[in-house]
């Protein structure tokens, strides 16, 4: 009894979570199983053991999709970082409570709107008779609509909007943990505001930058509605290909193999990123 009461409720509190973890793991294992089975055209049931799905991935269209997805993820994560930083900084340092709340709600609301509403909104902004084109046409700056739909540019713009809120949250968390005494010390020693920011604030917020970029990358990789609707078939990402394979061709074994490869790809890229940024993260950790 005494050993139990040291940690009351332990078993009761952990078991349900463990059950969900088991179910979730079983789903990932199901993908693994399907990816190793042969595809029989016209059949929903997969055939016997085969490595053919992974061999097919060498085809140029899939290599191309991996490369395009990687570029879209990197561009999105970096642009998001640059846009989110000033907002996060202001959010943490603003003196007025009202301004703080307004910035927080503005920054966080898009996160909760879901991918479909946001993507649809961007279709109206970027479309040929949409907001941007009609403003530019009316101002006489262009004489025919700019093509932004069905381009990688359009996809990246909408994806930046998707990842901005979570980046702001992660950067704000890091910036709010910075002891402003360090900045005051730098300033009192004669550092200019720009120098103080570059040599004190920015390095100290590095853990937030790394966490934010990692999450933005993973979310961009995960995005489906945005590349599907704004890319309109002209921009192929891993997510759109997995969906087409599964629900247009009913080739579930290959869809499984491709999403597994995508998962491995994300994990490898993020592990490399983590490794490359380790010295930078320690910069923040030492303070």
């Amino acid at each position: 009894m005494s050993a139990l009461s040291d940690r009351p409720f332990l078993r009761l509190f952990v078991s349900p979570a463990a059950l969900i973890a088991v179910g979730f793991s079983a789903a990932v294992i199901a993908i693994l199983q399907f990816s190793l089975r042969a595809y029989i055209p016209g059949e929903l049931e997969p055939g016997g053991f085969s490595l053919g799905n992974f061999a097919q991935m060498g085809k140029p269209i899939y290599a191309r999709a991996f490369l395009d997805t990687l570029l879209i993820c990197i561009e999105t994560a970096l642009i998001t970082l640059v846009l989110a930083y000033p907002l996060a900084f202001m959010l943490v340092r603003a003196k007025s409570r009202v301004l703080k709340s307004a910035l927080l709600v503005t920054a966080v609301t898009p996160l909760f709107l879901g991918e479909v509403v946001r993507t649809y909104s961007w279709i109206i902004v970027l479309g040929n008779s949409g907001f941007v084109n009609s403003v530019l046409l009316n101002l006489g700056l262009i004489d025919r609509p700019l093509q932004m739909m069905f381009t990688t540019f359009g996809v990246v713009v909408a994806l930046v909007h998707v990842t901005l809120p979570v980046m702001v949250i992660m950067l704000s968390a890091a910036i709010s943990h910075i002891d402003q005494g360090y900045e005051k010390a730098a300033a009192s020693l004669g550092a200019s505001p720009a120098r103080t920011f570059l040599t004190v604030t920015l390095p100290l917020s590095m853990p937030g930058i790394i966490a934010g970029v990692t999450t933005a990358f993973a979310w961009t990789f995960s995005a489906f509605a945005t590349p599907q609707l704004i890319g309109g078939g002209q921009v192929n990402t891993i997510s759109t290909l997995v969906y087409q394979l599964g629900f247009a061709s009913f080739n579930f074994p290959f869809a499984a193999a491709l999403s597994l490869a995508g998962l491995a790809f994300t994990i490898i890229v993020l592990a490399l990123f983590k490794r490359a940024t380790r010295p930078l993260e320690q910069l923040g950790g030492q303070a």
Binding site: R7, P8, F9, L10, F13, V14, A17, I20, A21, F24, A26, A27, V28, A30, I31, P86, L87, A88, V92, K100, S101, L103, L104, V105, A107, T109, P110, L113, E115, V116, V117, Y120, S121, I124, V125, G127, S129, G130, F131, H161, L164, S172, A173, S176, D179, P193, T215, S222, F224, A225, L229, S239, Y243, G246, A256, S259, L260, G262, L263, T266
Partner: protein, 268 residues
């Protein structure tokens, strides 16, 4: 006040980023009032007919009802399971603690299409098909990290001496839990539940894989609508969405202090 050029640059940047964040919402709301059936900007004449269609369209009504059912189950399960797990995570060491934590938090990194595809395959192997149970499970997996994080942060801000005081006065563990811990955790629990509910209601990619015509949730119905029609019905529906979500978050921020829950607000 003497402001440096850097200060002005910061303000300008923030204004530009806020404009970028808000622009699509403003544009979509205006487009929802467009009188014509083709999406053009700016609207020539205004009408409410697309709002009427959005609120009466059958697939949206079913989607809304399905989404509500899934949301209530998924967010309540995620809250109970996630809060209990966050408590154990914060207070105890136990076997496989880090493995369990990594698995449950990994749905933040694993693409939702992979989660959806995996659950679809698992369900078909086990003979479940695309039932509500599978959709709810999918949503629980996806929203659980947000609940765990939100409750864990609240636990970190909790003064444990209050529990020790209650215990030393003879309160049994369950009484400490119910009368001390739960009330003090209320803001974290409520906002964790709120996050889970909103995220579940709006979850699209995972739902697309695990729902059928009979169980499709609102975002899936909306996605199917965009692919078939080009009229502003969806703009009207998006406008309703935006207003409700922004209102909920403003109210939540007022009563719960979202800054604390999201860990972005620290009093030094």
């Amino acid at each position: 006040m003497n402001r440096s050029p850097l200060d002005w640059a910061l303000r300008l940047a923030v204004v530009a980023v806020v404009a970028f964040l808000v622009l699509p919402a403003v544009v979509v709301v205006i487009a929802g009032f467009n009188d014509r059936a083709i999406l053009t900007f700016p609207p020539q004449a205004f009408s409410l007919k697309w709002f009427e269609r959005a609120l009466t369209y059958d697939d949206f009504r079913h989607g809304f009802r399905n989404g509500l059912i899934v949301m209530l189950w998924a967010s309540s399960i995620a809250l109970t399971v996630g809060a209990a797990f966050a408590y154990a995570l914060h207070r105890y060491d136990f076997a496989l603690k880090h493995v369990l934590e990594s698995v449950l938090m990994s749905s933040l990194i694993i693409p939702h299409f992979t989660i959806g595809l995996g659950l679809l395959m698992l369900a078909s192997q086990m003979g479940f098909g695309r039932t509500f149970a599978v959709v709810v499970f999918c949503h629980v997996v996806i929203v659980l990290p947000f609940v765990i994080r939100s409750v864990y942060i609240s636990l970190q801000n909790l003064d444990q001496r209050l529990e020790l005081a209650a215990a030393s006065l003879g309160a049994p563990p369950w009484k400490v839990l119910v009368t001390i811990v739960l009330p003090l955790l209320a803001p974290g629990l409520i906002s964790g539940w709120l996050f889970a509910a909103i995220l579940s209601f709006n979850e699209f990619t995972g739902s697309l894989f695990v729902t059928s015509q009979a169980t499709q949730t609102l975002p899936v119905a909306m996605y199917n609508y965009v692919r078939e029609y080009a009229d502003p019905t969806l703009a009207a529906l998006s406008a309703i969405y935006i207003v409700i979500t922004a209102t909920l978050l403003t109210v939540a921020n007022f009563y719960l202090g979202l800054g604390k829950v999201l860990n972005v607000d620290h009093a030094h």
